[in-house]
Symmetry: C2
Subunit: 584 residues, 2 copies
């Protein structure tokens, strides 16, 4: 919110009674309200835009915009900050050179680990960052109550408390099963959001027909899970906005926008998000800027692509008085770019201060100041002993369920396979790429271990493990043998969270994520180096996936069909129930 | 808000577990989210839309839509309900046959007369009406503190209380002088609205350049006072939506839309309003339907014109989850029309019930139940004696200020004239169409009478008076002589509010508006007949204006340039100060 004295400063500057703080002269203003581009000068006071047509205003400081295009900062409409591996304080240097100034974030990961205190702790530096965080309030912590053990939870009262914060913009991605099952707790969360004037974000993975209609009737205002144009159009037709996603493993942009271009679909209810994107890919490929430029390549007119990345999102989330345009009173978040056909935000201003110069981040990162307990979130009651991973079988062979990965998609397929039983234990078969998959409870609660099998990781020997395992964030480990699986889990306990790879009983590589077992305080470059190194080691032992730790973190999700795995066992997602690992 | 059990009914119907209440089969759905038209069937449950594509749903009742176009109900984005002369309960029969199902209303008139209790009393039947009322919370009651006497006021605390109501969508039209003057009370009202997730409506009459920039910096999100395209474009360029107005006396539609069509201006931030429109004109010319059809005639594509009248407004006011489209979960407010080039909403459904059949209103009007004190709001301490109207002058002639009317505009021009002084009293000159204008305090507070002169009413003899006088709603009276002015005022006291015309000391015609001195409980036809009759009598004594009582009600407004008149005297609007009626 703007304070009364800031508001008065702004009005005084607008009236010309006091000089501007900064004027960016000689720019071509991309005006997302009129859809036009014309020469102007951005006037700034108290961190806000006074006017983008400030040619005749006096200013304490004047910067020559060199005739470049001036655009509003980009908005990522759905992202899990706590899925980037990087703490929010260090994320600026990745986001700002890409022009992203607003992150609409659902920090459900930290909430699953550490509840409301964890949620609040992660947002400590919010006001000091070089980008805005608005909150999509986690609607389902835990995601699958009764089917998984989490470290923390957000109950109805917690959710209502957070929804009332000014930085909360919505109820975050509500799982369809809660709505279609008409469960009071979740319908009351929707009611609370709407009563507080906030929207409700959808998460309608694969839903069609009457289920989709019912979900929309539940009050869900959008969906970021559309994988193609037909799905996107089906949402729009029911009055839901489409948050087009292009993350590390979910890549939906081309298929959706090809249809939009072909049909000339009305675009005001389209916007962009990344959902989950690893830092190395943000660095190399880009962030929302990548989506804007790809949209332009696919045939979306540049100003329209910019509208999708800015005002469309701001209107949908009801924060257009704060961000999303270069209009009076909005935060002075400004990108300068030489070309409007291929937008490279070479110079970026955040709250009126330059934070990117010639593509280089020059802003500051606030000091990290997390509480000690956030570094101590891995407590094992089992999982360090190879015997913990035995799945007992009778006879010589067993018919088991296998989670079959889908390349580039979050969904998986339920298949079955016959495996050997050796000394009473069902054993994986790396020759057919069928590994053992286990989820080890790590919140110190019960020592549960759920076991099943998975196809698609490609390992010939060894194991890999992660303390990021959506959404419960226990330790998930896939391997060719129990000894390496136990070694990985033990390494993660030692690091208090992270990724590990073991082979022949030894840890080959590891990467620490000690903040809640999810995030690292290391500088971004270090994190990217570590991630590249551990991916390389994964390939050395036969791995074939491009982003194995992203994949393993999602493969157990008990809310994405067909199958999930939690510490309590195998989950039939559409039936929302635990099932045996054996085909019966 | 939707209740939990209604929400569940809706979801069950959407899933096909229970039949719909009603299905309107065989319609061409105008989908404002995709901007397309295709065949569908509107499914309805619990008064809400289940889906507009309900062909394969079972329903308790099925109506054949006969291939007609199905559109969402129209939204009037800014209207003073209490300026229609008709009580809200009786307004349905005017609005619904015109397809208006949502009135975003600022009931500032009743608040000026009777404060917060009056405000609440007028909205008593809100939930039983055949149209929705959402509130633009009156930001300035009184409009010109210190310059006028009102019956009631809404202080900061009152405004904050109302803003928190779920039916409140915005802070209502805030006068620029309060923002540019940086007055804490009003800046705090803006802050309260934004904190509660509501927008702030502008009222930027004639403001340009730095004043307009400063006003936008104040947090004002729109303007409904644009008189031409240049003004409209200047607002859009500063990130303000434009509420295009076509009322009884303010007619801005053609000039604005001609520019929009010529330039192909991005239209998502354009919408429609009437502001103030008398019932006879709604009946004859139409309401928002008139604006939609005129827009289409001017070259706006039909679906785009419908978007302006529906979703654009719903998004701007952040009520798109409730109204503005035929999408799941929204109120089932549906218009059926045969032609999309000339939209006549022949059959209208409100909350899923048919309320207009073949152009005729068939809904019910709730019983009127206003408190007794709302019928007793005219208490005079002066004004019934001709001597009360004397403006004392010295010598033979006096140079006085004259409010010169502008045809079809709310603004006026400050001119001066030399008038005769007879027996110490400055007298009007009907030959030059210069009448005396007086405002008589009627709230029983002080007996103030403000006196000046006005040009444009055309009377050759007699006087006309009204207890509707924006925004203070004292009695305003214009006449050729003091005796007839006093007779009019006395007649209005007898009726406890209304309009009167007198000549030769006798009341020729009168029309009672006893609810707060603003509204009549008579049926709409009676009100229109009375209005036509009194207009005819006005013309009989020389009157030349098409809507003289609308004109006289605005001519004293102390917030619209150049001049205003209140019970305290003549007001220089731009200087926001009382001035002498004499040129000094």
């Amino acid at each position: 919110m703007i304070s009364l004295s800031e508001r008065k400063d702004l009005i005084r500057a607008a009236l010309g009674e006091v000089p501007l703080d900064l004027k960016i002269d000689n720019v071509q203003v991309v005006n997302v309200y009129t859809g036009t581009v014309e020469f102007g000068a951005i006037g700034i006071k108290a961190g806000r835009i006074v006017t983008p047509y400030a040619a005749d205003y006096k200013s304490a400081e004047i910067v020559d915009g060199g005739g470049k295009y001036a655009l509003p900062g980009f908005i990522d409409t759905h992202v899990h900050l706590d899925s980037t591996l990087v703490i929010p304080e260090n994320l600026s240097q990745l986001l700002l050179p890409r022009g992203t100034t607003v992150m609409l974030s659902d920090p459900m990961e930290i909430a699953n680990v550490a509840g409301l205190p964890g949620f609040k702790a992660l947002l400590r530096s919010r006001d000091e960052l070089s980008y805005h965080i608005f909150l999509e309030v986690s609607s389902r912590v835990p995601t699958a109550p009764g089917l998984e053990t989490t470290g923390g939870e957000l109950n109805l009262q917690d959710v209502c408390e957070i929804l009332a914060w000014p930085e909360a913009v919505s109820l975050g991605e509500l799982d369809p099963s809660k709505v279609l099952g008409m469960r009071d707790e979740y319908l009351l969360k929707i009611e609370a959001a709407q009563r507080l004037g906030k929207i409700c974000n959808g998460h309608a993975v694969g839903r069609v027909g009457k289920e989709l209609v019912a979900y929309a009737c539940g009050g869900l205002a959008d969906d970021h899970e559309c994988v193609d144009y037909e799905e996107a159009l089906s949402r729009l037709k029911l009055g839901m906005a489409v948050l087009i996603r292009e993350g590390s493993t979910e890549r939906n942009l081309d298929l959706i926008l090809n249809g939009v271009v072909r049909d000339g679909t009305y675009s005001h209810h389209l916007m962009f998000c990344t959902d989950d994107k690893h830092p190395d890919e943000i660095l190399e490929e880009g962030h929302i800027d990548y989506m804007v430029n790809r949209a332009i390549e696919l045939g979306i007119p540049p100003v329209q692509a910019v509208q999708m990345a800015t005002i469309n999102a701001a209107k949908h989330f009801r924060i257009e008085h704060l961000v999303g345009s270069l209009s009076p009173g909005r935060w002075a978040d400004i990108l300068l770019a030489e070309d409007l056909q291929q937008i490279v935000p070479g110079n970026v201003f955040f709250k009126g201060k330059q934070v990117v110069e010639d593509g280089r981040y020059i802003g500051s990162n606030p000091e990290v100041d997390y509480p000690a307990w956030l570094y101590e979130t891995v407590t094992l009651k089992a999982g360090k002993n190879p015997a913990d991973y035995i799945l007992e079988g009778n006879g010589k062979r067993a018919q088991v369920w296998v989670i079959d990965l889908f390349p580039d998609q979050i969904i998986n397929t339920k298949i079955s396979a016959e495996l050997e039983v050796v000394e009473g234990s069902v054993i994986p078969d790396p020759a057919r790429d069928i590994l053992k998959l286990a989820v080890v409870e790590r919140h110190g609660k019960n020592g549960n271990i759920g076991i099943t099998f998975v196809k698609g990781f490609g390992l010939k020997n060894g194991a890999l493990a992660s303390s990021i395992a959506h959404d419960h964030h226990n330790i998930i480990v896939a391997g060719t043998n129990d000894r390496d699986m136990a070694a990985c889990t033990a390494a993660i306990e030692d690091m208090q969270g992270g990724f590990a790879i073991a082979s022949d009983g030894k840890v080959l590589e590891q990467m620490a994520l000690p903040i809640g077992g999810l995030l690292s305080e290391e500088p971004v470059e270090e994190i990217i180096n570590s991630l590249e190194e551990i991916n390389r080691v994964y390939q050395n032992i036969g791995g074939t996936l491009p982003a194995p730790f992203m994949t393993i973190s999602f493969i157990g999700l008990p809310t994405v069909p067909d199958l999930g795995l939690t510490d309590k066992g195998l989950v039939d997602v559409l039936k929302h129930t635990l099932i045996s690992s054996f085909v019966e």
